[in-house]
Symmetry: C2
Subunit: 286 residues, 2 copies
């Protein structure tokens, strides 16, 4: 059976990497950092948080980069919040924004409101002019519960978009066959996702590049500038600044990727492949 890498035109044992920058739209510092990472750095893909305060500014600076939608149902920061763009009482905590934790979300969210809100986020991104490349899920809220995953998968099918998915080794812990369900619907996803656990990807990237497996791997970073704004709300600002430096200015990383024979791609290649295949095509993820 053809592997994803082969279907994308690579050799069967090729090491293909999507280097995604999360959290476009989060803040001014994240917008500048993410576009720099895409334009001057090694990032090949970014993910937009439509409900965040700086999403419109991100849209105004978009020049056709590989950008998907970071579907968002949480606002985790204590002093800086955002909320649904649709009427969705069950997606508000008592303080007026999205809930801060995924547990709070999973306990209280009405799934019809989830569905409407997330569809509106994708449509808003398209309306703003983004050539949406893929979907992923802020804080993995949509990946880890089957009833939320259904919404995620339906959006991927309806908009013809690939998605970020946990790797095969996490599937058992998650407790339902998310990768098989996506494959059955003809929705593409990378073979491997490198879990970072929070913000700050340097170690994960260095470890991954040393021992990259054949197939398509996704790695994500959270680039942002070191500004008073970012410092004021974000406990992880220093890790974001380090991510930004690593993918934009680091002299070693490009050499390491070259030595490892890594092929960099964005999500758009997966999207074009997905749209060219018949639904339920026979494609084997590594």
């Amino acid at each position: 059976m053809t592997s994803l890498a082969e279907a994308l035109g690579f050799a069967p044992d090729a090491r293909v990497l999507i280097l995604n920058a999360d959290d476009l739209g989060l803040s001014h510092a994240a917008n500048v950092g993410t576009y720099e990472a895409l334009r001057s750095g090694l990032a090949t893909s970014a993910s937009l948080m439509v409900p965040c305060p700086w999403s419109r500014e991100a849209a105004s600076r978009y020049r056709g980069e590989d950008v998907g939608v970071h579907l968002t149902l949480n606002a985790e920061h204590e002093r800086y919040r955002w909320g649904p763009i649709t009427q969705a009482p069950s997606l508000l905590d008592g303080d007026g924004g999205f809930p801060r934790t995924v547990d709070d979300l999973w306990d209280h969210a009405d799934l019809d409101e989830v569905r409407r809100e997330l569809r509106a986020q994708v449509e808003r991104a398209i309306l703003w002019g983004f050539d949406v490349s893929h979907l992923d899920s802020h804080m993995s809220a949509l990946q880890l519960r089957p009833e939320f995953f259904d919404v995620y998968l339906d959006l991927a099918v309806d908009f013809g978009l690939p998605i970020r998915l946990s790797g095969a080794s996490s599937e058992r812990a998650i407790g339902f066959p998310c990768r098989r369900l996506a494959a059955e619907e003809g929705v593409l996803f990378p073979d491997h996702l490198v879990a970072v656990g929070g913000v700050g990807s340097r170690r994960a990237i260095e470890r991954t590049v040393r021992a990259l497996r054949p197939g398509v791997t996704e790695l994500y970073v959270h680039p942002a500038l070191d500004t008073p704004e970012q410092r004021a709300f974000d406990e992880d600002w220093a890790a974001r600044v380090d991510d930004h430096h690593l993918v934009t200015f680091d002299a070693e990383l490009p050499a390491r990727l070259r030595r490892a024979g890594v092929e960099l791609i964005g999500y758009r290649q997966l999207r074009e492949l997905q749209r060219s295949l018949a639904p339920r095509a026979e494609l084997q993820n590594n």
Copy 2:
């Protein structure tokens, strides 16, 4: 009849000034600038925009300063927006935030939604711990149309708060007797409001201080730091930085105010007086 200045304990011909800093909560740069203007500078009052992205951060840094609510139904910036904190479809433009212009607001707003939204803004500020000192109106949206003014006045009565009002000379242009209506309800307001027209108050302040009239005058500024964040969305960033410098660091302004015999107060003094008076008390604004 007792004048407002006299009722506040000043001489009949005293020149009393409220120096208000608008737009607390707008951005990180506005929060830092406004608190500096209040704590180290000459500002005696500030106004919080509850629906703005940085309002919670402003709340987290509040230490009991004289802060009122800048009732907000517009989001005027092209690339940086905010929207209602209640379910209010008529207060959204097509792009998901408050309308950008007051004309758009006045044409489409449902008054029941306006009432509920603005009450929620005051209640949210109180919930966050602000000892709310007064009400004023972003872009004067509530001052210039009688049906909106009714909501403004009702909130002032219900919460026992003084309000910002246009000066007597503007009342004819506005076309309804807003000052008399407020006075009849026992709601206090400064005798004079110095209209600035947009952002950047240096000229208005210098002119006003030279020829300050007896009675209580309100002047407002929009202090903000010079940061990449503020520059990225705000055409008026330089005027805000100048306002911040003027009220926080300028060496001349304190001397000018002293020479002019100006007495600085906040809105809280008006609030305490309003609450101590019976409704419809006989008090004569200058």
